[in-house]
Symmetry: C2
Subunit: 136 residues, 2 copies
């Protein structure tokens, strides 16, 4: 269902999704038209979910990247879930997890002040453990 050429196409598009179909074709030894057809199939199959960019969050002013493990006191998660919906600017992902905690929240903040205020509000709905990303 997914041959070596398709794999190469995914690799190339991961590296540069704005490559022309002609160039992509050259890299995988096809014409642009054939490459384009392959890509269309990968989209139809749902393997390629979308085309996006990598944005440098630090240059956007988000200097803090954090993971917050959430432990909700009660079995009612709704207050927490409602809360984070109001904080979309800071939230990158909210993963429901098994293991130590109920959720793993990946966030970004412009300053310690913003982080502090966020944690204060968060604490009304859940307990947490904070991990700040230092690197990579």
């Amino acid at each position: 269902m997914l041959d070596n050429t398709d794999q190469l196409i995914l690799d190339e598009l991961s590296k540069n999704s704005r490559i022309t179909m002609k160039e992509l074709g050259e890299k995988v030894h096809l014409t642009g038209q054939a490459a384009s057809g392959r890509v269309a199939k990968l989209e139809d199959n749902g393997l390629i979910e979308g085309y996006t960019i990598k944005v440098n969050q630090t240059k956007l002013g988000y200097f803090i990247h954090a993971f917050i493990t959430i432990i909700t006191q009660s079995t009612y998660h709704q207050p927490y879930l409602s809360f984070i919906k109001t904080q979309e600017a800071y939230i990158i992902h909210n993963y429901k997890i098994s293991g130590d905690g109920c959720y793993l929240l990946e966030c970004k903040f412009p300053s310690n002040k913003a982080l502090g205020e966020f944690l204060e509000d968060l604490n009304k709905h859940a307990n947490y453990k904070l991990s700040i990303v230092i690197n990579k």
Copy 2:
């Protein structure tokens, strides 16, 4: 340094990085050439770090998405770092963190068997706490 139009451009490219410059221009009320110029500047400034695709990992056969908190016994992290370099197929990100643990490892695995073997090898170099992603 970054005006509202630039912000809109980043939003549009995040949603679809393969949009044509002409279409992008229409969305932000510029000509294609002007939009193209803006994008070139965003690239030069390093705000746009690259163009990529979102791949459906489940359809690629990676059914398990996990976060592993790493606690190295010794202060010497090299054995762990060398180990994960040999496991690139499974590693999405390796974040150095402050807080509970030394690293936060985001990984993907095709099966519980692969996960199990990975953890067994990992345990030779570090202790860990495993969280499996259930959702979102």
